[in-house]
Symmetry: C2
Subunit: 366 residues, 2 copies
């Protein structure tokens, strides 16, 4: 998608043909900066400190980290060390583990001198596959936006509400929940996005708002408390969210607060879709509330916040009284019964085992 009018991905090979460049997401929305990675350690630190984040993106970033490692030393020992180091950066990220194993398995079969080049090729393939997957989600989801536009008699922009950042910054390009928005916008369908700020880490106010602004998509940032009111008053046509983990029955584990928006959508008859690459569907799970443990994160994400001061410095301030306990649950589970459907790279499914296995029969057969 575009930044300042130029097309970008979140990760790419530098002009030298071997070092890796990424958008430094820790500095958004206030500063747009590109971070260069010249070693596997650069990549490991970049993933750990969330210079890159988003499940699809960190898988690709990990793959490039392996390539950087093998460029300087392609021995089995170096490969094992790099795998271990990169995996430890985000231990619960399923995509990272999957990508690292995929690349390692492939290159291990090769003679040492061939491994480096092969790793770069595999990393590029993973990146391109992610772009293709997201573009497909975008194409399928954009039809929902087009239908909503028809339903208004083409009288006004379609209002989409999204939570957190499941945009192109979380992937290599296009995004998941925002891919339909970009496809529709680029096709000339007028679309406006209500952006939940998404406390406590504010990925909506910082990342989603920034990427929509850069690509030129009309949007408005709102507090997380506002979406229900907007839906009561007909100001939301469609909710599109991402998913960190989806059960085979269509329950969606996503950023904390998603469940509240799904309740409001259900109460007001607003269609609510999760946009998920099939790689995030866990076919072994059948009850999201029972089976998915919810991570609790550092409470300073709630009690403190960072932003830009009037004199252009990024500063952190404390919001809560010294001495008040704080809790920080990172995700919640939205039951399938509240969702209109799930948008995948193969099409839109009902949020149910029947719906998902109809699109992915090979998974049901396993």
């Amino acid at each position: 998608m575009k930044v300042g009018g130029s097309p970008y991905r979140t990760i790419w090979l530098a002009e030298d043909g071997w070092s890796v460049e990424v958008i430094d997401q820790t500095r958004l929305p206030h500063v747009f900066a590109v971070a260069p990675w010249r070693t596997m350690q650069d990549a490991a630190e970049g993933i750990h400190t969330m210079i890159v984040r988003g499940a699809p993106l960190i898988g690709v970033a990990g793959a490039y980290g392996l390539a950087l490692a093998l460029k300087s030393d392609a021995s089995n020992a170096a490969l094992a060390h790099a795998h271990e180091t990169l995996l430890a950066t985000r231990p619960t990220a399923v995509n990272l583990a999957w990508a690292l194993t995929a690349v390692r398995t492939e290159v291990q079969r090769l003679a040492v001198p061939l491994r480096g080049e092969a790793a770069y090729r595999l990393a590029a393939q993973l990146a391109d596959a992610d772009v293709e997957c997201c573009r497909s989600i975008g194409a399928h989801g954009a039809r929902l936006i087009a239908d909503a536009y028809e339903a208004t008699g083409k009288s006004r922009p379609v209002n989409v509400l999204t939570h957190c950042n499941a945009g192109w910054l979380a992937t290599v390009d296009w995004g998941t929940a925002l891919a339909p928005v970009y496809v529709a916008h680029d096709a000339g369908i007028p679309v406006h996005v209500w952006v939940d700020e998404t406390r406590p880490r504010n990925q909506g106010a910082s990342l989603t708002a920034w990427e929509l602004l850069q690509h030129g998509v009309p949007h408005t940032v709102i507090a997380d408390n506002v979406g229900g009111h907007l839906m009561q008053h007909g100001q939301v046509d469609l909710c599109l969210v991402g998913s960190d983990r989806t059960t085979a029955t269509g329950d969606v584990c996503n950023k904390i607060g998603t469940y509240l928006k799904a309740l409001a959508a259900y109460d007001n008859g607003v269609p609510f879709y999760a946009c998920v690459p099939s790689s995030t569907i866990d076919w072994t799970l059948s009850d999201g509330l029972r089976d998915i443990p919810i991570e609790q994160r550092d409470t300073r994400e709630v009690s403190e916040i960072s932003g830009m001061t009037v004199d252009g410095q990024v500063a952190t301030v404390r919001l809560t009284p010294q001495g008040s306990p704080v809790a920080n649950y990172a995700f919640d589970v939205t039951p399938a019964r509240l969702m209109t459907g799930i948008v995948t790279e193969r099409g839109v499914a009902t949020a149910s085992r029947a719906g998902l296995t109809a699109l992915f029969p090979e998974m049901a057969a396993r």
Copy 2:
């Protein structure tokens, strides 16, 4: 309630017997400071800049503002000027208009030399009446907490979730939604409060957390996104919120985001109560969604936030990208169908015209 072990109200007469002192709520939770008011202008500025806030409190503050005015000049002209000046500080505050009119009507009948003393007496009566009303709401609501404690087999503290600040800082003492918590806590019933931070103005994280901390009530601050997850997992026994305006049919207009918590409570079978002095019931309204206009406030309340830096300074930082539009809806309406009941100073009513008029038959007869 207590601050640092000593009992306080939010507003009181100073030791000199005539000047007024208030807790400066703009400096909480980081600094506890008392602001002295020696003139009507001090009071007007204090109400306007939200040194005092909360519907019941600003009514009493306005009455003391009139008393301060009349102390130096009790002429009809001075009285009219003071009334007009104080009313303009918060033009939409129903309690302020009501209190100013009540005091003015009463003192206008008196000879000029008697007016000042009468205004002080009336202001003190309003303050005491507010305390009594809140204490009664607390007594009725505390029974709900006691019942929840019984239902646990007295095995663990009762978990109450609240939104925004409807605590004693919003009133003269006790509060509305938190009055039942204080009554129960003081009676030895173990109670713990989940405190929604309440974006965008963060009254929960700043005011509610501070007052619970000072009074010694166990509590935990959470992002507004978290309540639904907690209710899904049985971690909330009871929701208690305030109300800015209540219809005769039991719809509740309260801080933005209240509706989302009511949906989650309903979805999970968690009792949900609004605690309202009957003065906030608008007996002329029958449909909150249709009849209550929702104020939109300064968007900088969303795009910027203030807190304390590590070196103890209060600083403001920007959260959103420069150029991203922002919307700031201040309230929403929770339909009566989602509420278990309404706690008033006369008892607990079902959220319906029948329930409310059974407690307040004189209003139905009007």
